[in-house]
Amino acid sequence: MSKIVILGAGISGHVAASHLRRKLSKEHEVIVVSPNTNYQWIPSNIWVGIGRMKSEKILFPLAPLYKKKGIGYKQAKALSFYPEGDKDEQKPYVLAEYVTGEKQGQREKVTYDYLINATGPKLNFEATEGLIPGKNKTYSVCTYTHADHAWEGLNEVIQQMKAGKKAKILIGTGHAKSTCQGAAFEYILNVEQELRKHNVRDMAEVTWISNEYRLGDFGMDGMLMSYGSMTMKSSEMVEMIFEDRDIKWILGAGVNKIEDGIAYYENLEGEHKSETYDFAMLIPSFSGHGFKAYDKNENDITEKLFKGFMVVDADYTPKPYEEWSVKDWPETYQNPTYKNIFAPGIAFAPPHTISKPRKSKSGTDIFPAPPRTGMPSGITAKLVADNIIDSIKNGKESLKHKGSMGNMGAACIASAGFGMTSGSGVSITTFPIVPDYEKYPKTQGRQLGKTFGEIGLAGHWLKLALHHAFIYKAKMRPFWWLIPE
């Protein structure tokens, strides 16, 4: 009998738990440890943030589902890792603290045979002074509660515009090394469309602010893509959309301080500037959770498990951008020291960024961190689950399932406006996610045809269809496993 503990119940943790439970017999224990009450389908937060979808539509409680499916569930947060156990406990364990109910505040040693760390990122708002969701007129759409607040803030500004007051709207990244430009891109297009629907578009100045060097970088160094019968750069496609919608842009901007209605930033020229606004949605930087790890004698071994995020089978040797290789990226998400620990999704430490690192003239790093969206999070979680299942069934370590982001496709269906007949979406796929300049030297490291973009109403339908399909899958309804990650 094996005991598999999964930390986190986001896309990655939930996918791993559901596949493990489906494929392993009941003699094996599958336990999820998460401080969250609900599962949330994060990609639809965009629509919550414009008031077109209630947050209840994108979430469901975890406890009843896990009870029904025979998955253990501890509503607790992980505090520290003991991969060798300690003087009193022979088995490896994670120290967790319950966050709710009768056991609130109690700590428990959660022992395991296999550990999947799917804790995702910490939303590091503190890294930018004054960037607090719901304060200083800044908002976030990173969680459903943030998105609810964002809609309240946006609606207030829309009502002011209806009363005749002009407004400035600023959307993008809130730190020099933020990622998730795609989410901000979706949000700015949705907000712009909402302003038109409310007949106040002419009252608003809408501005994109980002740490990207070029538009359409998305933390992936941009893309060369098929667009209809043409081949165009993602920067050209985004520029076309922004110009068409009268959205201004500020690039190479490392936002470092927020005051009430003012965003201060440094640009790549080393200039310190500011931008005023009446409503801002700025994505924070992501960081690890600051977990500590100890050996059986309680010596600190954090560096064996964490480099901010969790250390896995990536090549972390520091090297210049020109020497980066697709082979640097992990394939199995296994910790090299403790082979029974895995970190799929956003929890693993990337070997480096995907976008070219750039410094301002005064030495500040200003470039996007690598994005890891829902699709690769799901795929990597499933392959980790499959390797654990094989290892248990074969009685020896099996790592035959591999999935490097350098040999994996991803789709980003960016909503560009909500509405069954008036909606729009920018559908982008990329293969591979991390460019492979050896395989595709003439097309910026990616395969044309499999890397393409489309704009139109079908994109909105597609995003809506994915919303329903993935919530169905997450609820583990009949034949849920037929829906791919």
């Binding site: 068409d244 919608r245 394939e331 040999n407 796929t429 489309e454």
Partner: protein, 45 residues
């Protein structure tokens, strides 16, 4: 505002009939890209 998308392009982007077929096409194409397999990048000795 600079009109970068022509009226004809916009018509095609927003026409429900054209977009219905585009929806089918995109669904299949995306499925091929993302469910078409994944693997490692390092050679095994």
């Amino acid at each position: 505002m600079t009109q970068r998308i022509s009226k004809y392009q916009r018509f095609k982007m927003m026409n429900p009939i054209i977009q219905f077929f585009k929806f089918i096409y995109l669904s299949i194409k995306i499925m091929i890209v993302v469910a078409g397999g994944h693997g490692g990048t390092r050679k095994v000795n």
